[in-house]
Amino acid sequence: MADFVAPPSRSRDLDKLLLRTGNLVGSNFEPGAELRDDLQEYARILVVGAGGLGCELLKDLALSGFKNIDVIDMDRIEVTNLNRQFLFRVEDVGKPKAEVAAKRVMERVSGVNIVPHFCRIEDKEIPFYNDFNIIVLGLDSIEARSYINSVACSFLEYDSDDKPREETIKPMVDGGTEGFKGHARVIMPGVTPCFECTIWLFPPQVKFPLCTLAETPRTAAHCIEYAHLIKWDEVHSGKAFDPDDPEHMKWVYDEAIKRAELFGIPGVTYSLTQGVVKNIIPAIASTNAIISAACALETLKIASGCSKTLANYLTYNGVAGLHIKVTEFVKDKDCLVCGPGVLIELDASVTLEKFINLLEDHPKLLLSKASVSHRGKNLYMQAPPVLEEMTRSNLSLPLYELMDKVAKDTIHVTGTTSKDGKKTSCLRKLRVVFKAIDGVTDMDTAGGA
């Protein structure tokens, strides 16, 4: 009886990574069956998006041995998805992507548990996201990435030396594709640049001047945007255009055709209309597969330590031949989202007005005329007069009370700072900690709630 032989894993290849040591392993890598089993038992992964990248990611992660996966997506399956979102079939059209994708992968890979969430990412409470060890993004919009990034970074805490606390780091792996191009990146908030540190990497959207659309259209896209942005409002006063309503899209297409004929411009088609209006670049199945594979591998590397992770941004280009490059971007140390912010210790009795005065003398800030906001509430605004008036009464109140009596929290201040005699405007993040607040809060709450 071979009692002490580890039971053969379903995935031999995974065992080669997880059961043996190597030269490129991460720090603290401890190969062995325990690691492999722990990975299955304890690693919880959230996949955001169940579209082109999401389908690939779910399959890849399930086959990489992850057993606890959640997937969130607000969309329903459309017939145009079927060429590349291979978990879906014709009879699934109209069903929620997250639910069908989870079901299909569970049918094919035994032992994996995938929990679908058919909703918007904003619909989930923030703590929902904290339950996962790694968040993997298969998204197509900057807004959604920016949102998840700010949620993941909000869990990050720094110690008094402005070093990130390891247990609060929420790693993200982000994939993105556009046609034959794509990227995969690893974001360790507080360690590597977050999405917001490098938002400039995204090229600005091409927007045509409205007067060109109205007056001198030259391309098919101009005709489509005219129908979409100008003609729609003219005809449907007050009714919002819904890009997901086929009737609306057909209407825009018909109007664009008329416009194109009037100016003798060729090339307006229904699919181009969809593409221009929804800003869609044709998706390529193989690009999605390559990028997802890179993301799934990075996820496995982060979780297991079986190899050093990507540092930190991979770009893939398959337009002509094939080109892959890894760039190590640097963090913005003053990033409003992932940066530590300036640590300030205060007495609970300090009023907002006194606090604003303190900022002027703070050696790291030298910030005059500060406006202050806390979690979306504007505590004081220097301008315009209408807001100054609305917030003036807060000046005499203790900051601690204005911050809902939380012992430590982040606030944001804007104002002017002088550097070498030159005045510049700035926006800073502050970590406010109230001194000896434990005793005070206990007394406060003892008689109250």
């Binding site: 923030i126 949102y147 247990e167 001047p209 409205l210 007067c211 406006s371 609305m390 944001h412």
Partner: protein, 183 residues
């Protein structure tokens, strides 16, 4: 990081029954940057800003422009601003709420201002846009028309354009279009 995950999972199970922190409102990076723009606004006397949803919603606001010279002297023109969470990566959406007879603003309130679309840059701000809008009233431009007829009149017959503008602002018809009084 699997050891960390293991520890966390144990903590999570323990915490399952205890109540977590109350849900936190997320402040988008766009909101933070806008907060800076608004806190630094330096508007001319001819421009006014209002926040219909109160002091804590800066993402939607209205700007009223009262030109103090030119064709539009004495009119009140209200613009609605709607700012995206990824501002300033994306320009605010600006519409003219007041129906106006203007070569660069159509009757649905679309505004042809380069910095709102093709020439938007993240270094620009709300102040720049408001000055840009103000500029449209002091220097209407027939070369970039959205209201084709108004542009043609301005180009060919400035006197008629002037009287059309006065008529529209006082409340009345110009051609087939009715304008409500905005003086």
């Amino acid at each position: 990081m699997i050891r960390l995950f293991k520890v966390k999972e144990k903590q999570r199970e323990l915490a399952e029954n205890a109540n977590g922190k109350p849900p936190i409102k997320k402040q988008s990076p766009g909101e933070l940057r806008l907060h800076k723009d608004i806190g630094e606004l330096n508007l001319p006397k001819t421009c006014n800003i209002a926040f219909p949803n109160g002091k804590d919603d800066l993402m939607n606001f209205e700007v009223t422009i009262r030109p103090d010279e030119g064709y539009y002297l004495g009119g009140n023109f209200v613009f609605t601003f709607s700012v995206s969470p990824i501002y300033p990566h994306e320009a605010p959406k600006v519409k003219c709420k007041t129906k106006v007879y203007h070569p660069n603003i159509d009757l649905e309130g679309n505004v042809c201002l380069n910095i709102l679309r093709e020439d938007w840059k993240p270094v620009l701000n709300i102040n720049t846009i408001i000055y840009g809008l103000f500029h449209l009233f002091t220097q209407p431009n027939y070369e970039d028309p959205l209201n084709h007829e108004a542009a043609a009149v301005l180009r060919d017959n400035p006197k008629l354009f002037e009287s059309n503008v006065r008529r529209a602002m006082a409340g009345g018809y110009v051609g087939q279009s009715f304008f409500t009084r905005c003086m």
